[in-house]
Amino acid sequence: MTDTKKELQKKEASLEKGVERTRETRVYTPAVDIIEKSNDIVILADMPGVDENSVDVTLEKDLLTIYGKIEPEIPANHKLVISEYGIGDYQRTFTLSSEIDKAHIQATVSDGVLRLVLPKAEKEKTRKIPVTAHA
């Protein structure tokens, strides 16, 4: 039971040393799936509340950072009586290896899930070597 509970809690992102936030909000680390397929690597990140205008994907050298900005939707004149989850921005950084074709990264967001498709560089794709019989 404790395990299930732990997984359901959103994880707050830890700050790097010497870095201060300028926005007064909590920042969570979104849960992700990283799936390697034959031609690309797919990253799926759960970022409920973000849409295509509030999520930023930046690539600096080998660091790919996703940042989702949340404008909390608080029902007008309502008081929060039960709070099982917190609301805040999302941030997570990934280190890309050289095998990614950085010019062709695609990002889409749907129902609060960010989907990044990182194509593998041509030379890294698995190739099947045909074997021919020696005549």
């Binding site: 397929k37 409920p48 029902p75």
Partner: protein, 138 residues
Amino acid sequence: MTTTYLERLLDPWREFDRMTRLVNRTDSYGSSEYPAVNVWVNGDNAVITTEIPGIDRNTIDISVSGNTVSLSGSRPAEETKEEQSYHRHELWHGKFSKTVKLPFNIDADKVNATYRNGVLQISLPQLEADKPRKININ
């Protein structure tokens, strides 16, 4: 915020919160904990919000009975035929169901739900017949 003893005693939400904790403690096994919900109130209206990203809205089932709201749905895993391997597998998949009890009976005809960017919001007004009424003395 300071509250007097009397105010705490009279606050039905306090008792409601305590009850919810008790209920959740006994049926928190399996998937019944997911999804986490926030409950907002304003007098005779309650709003439940929950983060359930990546779910087809047609598979979300909301049912209301008396003072109880039940949510259920499922999130299928990413399916593909091509060969793939997971480097990270943190996203939640599977079926969920969750029950939330409110301290009043809900007017099922006026319940309104929206699902936007992975956040489900359900507005639940109190049943008119249940509201306190002022009785005039003839």
